[in-house]
Symmetry: C2
Subunit: 333 residues, 2 copies
């Protein structure tokens, strides 16, 4: 999930526009990740929180709240909340995936151990829930606790669906909502709710975050098969080697003949991969136009995100969020 | 943490008195641990939730709420909440401790894998937060999210303090509050708050749960050095072999001469243990009256729990909770 490349960078424009709010968010994050009793906690957390992530999710909260006229201060708490939830899931994901690198640095589970990653992740979840209670909005609490459940459910679903060729596009979408879109849509929806925006605007903000998150993840999955490693920071074929059933493969499997199905069963379901298999997999994706169809899906979701924004009153922030939807798919267009 | 033995069993009396409420709690637990999207979740959860735990924490919520005159229904939600938080921490603890058995059955991390335990634990945390939002009480949310943070903080603290002989009784107490007492006191306090009990009663309920939980854990740590395995289900010396700095050892280290300090450093800090070391450790605990002093601490905490109950209006439930405090220390008295 990298947004590093391309010429226009709407997330940088957002960061500049929201600079004062984001400074308050970063202060609050640093304050709340501290634990005088357990110094291991801020060590592990700082490693990840200070690692130069783009803070996209907290920016979505602030942008949504402000474009609906919210003067503060609780958008800052909700922004820190979503960043804590995000960081907690990264810590746990890296344990689950046995990852060794994230954002170009060794993962916490490698630097410390799995135990620290599990428990510090739990601490950040708990801190997130403390933070989200402070604004005193039961509706926001409901949105964010539902998002947390969707995230965890999506992760478990990914675990059991990953090596099952029967996984269809509906399951993929459910997994993607859990992995990415649920926190995006909770961020934008909570921003609208805390601002007291009219129901139609809150719905549009949710739809925008949902579609943006789905587009974001589909692009990520597509680049895994056709990206330029120097530009994306991803190695082509990682998902194939890790036997992940992502959208391009799901589309190719749906059209596979008997021999192709046997190939996918061997390489993905059973995980027996030989030299040349990745190349053959990519040739099958091309044969069935699976990469083009996946690209089209990403573009469709980005268009839905923009369409949701179009229903909101015009503003500079609205334009930036629309641009962000374009930017997310610019890497594949 | 087993309460299986002895003649009078106040937790059974509580279970009988609260039978209708506990039936509703069990129904709600089963309903909310379901996930039609990810069938792995109810599988893993059922393994633990249905394993015949005593549901002590949910009973504390119901007892506290009802003795303060609460007619329901939200004590049931809060009771299910604390059981979900408890179950989530058990799943994560077993990963962190690499445990193979719990309650006489293989652990989930052994039956499935660490990944499932981490992610299903996260799911249960999220479900707990969804449940606790439903009563609509911000104060209850604050109590329970603070407890979740204290639990995670205590676990991390235990991780870094475990092999540090400088760990004192104050740190031990902080760890024990995290491991056990924070959820006990949150259960009783939340029960009082949802019932709208006067402030002094809410405080007494908190004090009771806090002291009961501390007594409970100290007894557990004491039995590890002098229990009867057939009665307690624990093997003598597990904590020693796992190099845990529990209260008996902390008390003995505080009085150790140079040779004894070297012994503790070798066996606990560095983990180099030989045959006969456990016996020598136990002899040192006896030499410094560490076991008796630990027993006295447990009795003192149980007395504090009873004293807190004495400030509440008299009732059958109050008597049972007082008896429970006696019962917890009956195993060592």
């Amino acid at each position: 999930m990298s947004l590093d490349e391309a010429a226009t960078k709407p997330h940088e424009e957002l960061a500049a526009t929201l600079a004062d709010g984001m400074e308050a968010v970063n202060l609050l994050i640093r304050e709340r990740m501290a634990s005088e009793n357990a110094p291991r906690i801020p060590e592990v957390t700082a490693h990840l929180v200070e690692a130069g992530g783009k803070r996209l999710r907290p920016m979505l909260v602030l942008a949504a709240a402000r474009m609906c006229g919210y003067p503060g201060p609780y958008d800052v708490h909700l922004a820190a909340t979503v960043e804590f939830i995000h960081t907690a899931t990264l810590l746990h994901d890296d344990v689950v995936d046995e990852s060794r690198q994230r954002r170009g640095r060794p993962t916490a589970n490698l630097l410390w151990d799995n135990k620290s990653s599990v428990l510090v992740g739990d601490y950040l979840f708990a801190r997130a829930f403390q933070l989200m209670v402070e604004p005193g909005s039961l509706r926001v609490l409901s949105i964010l606790s539902n998002a947390a459940a969707t995230i965890a459910e999506g992760e478990v679903l990914q675990l059991s669906a990953a090596q099952d060729l029967r996984t269809g596009e509906d399951t993929y979408l459910r997994i993607v909502r859990g992995k990415t879109a649920a926190l995006f849509s909770a961020a934008t929806e909570a921003g609208g709710v805390i601002a007291g925006a009219p129901e139609a605007q809150v719905q549009a903000l949710f739809d925008y975050g949902d579609a943006l998150g789905i587009a974001f993840q589909i692009v990520d999955d597509l680049l895994d098969y056709q990206g330029d490693a120097s530009a994306t920071g991803k190695n082509v074929g990682d998902d194939f080697r890790e036997r992940k059933l992502t959208l391009p493969v799901i589309k190719a499997v749906a059209q596979a003949d008997e021999a192709e199905r046997a190939f996918w069963q061997r390489t993905i379901e059973k995980g027996r991969q030989d030299e040349g298999d990745l190349e053959h997999a990519i040739s099958l994706l091309h044969k069935h136009d699976a990469l083009d169809a996946t690209r089209q899906d990403a573009l469709d979701w980005a268009a839905r995100a923009r369409a949701a924004m179009d229903t909101l009153p015009d503003s500079e922030l609205r334009r930036m969020l629309s641009d962000l939807a374009d930017y997310v798919v610019a890497r594949i267009n």
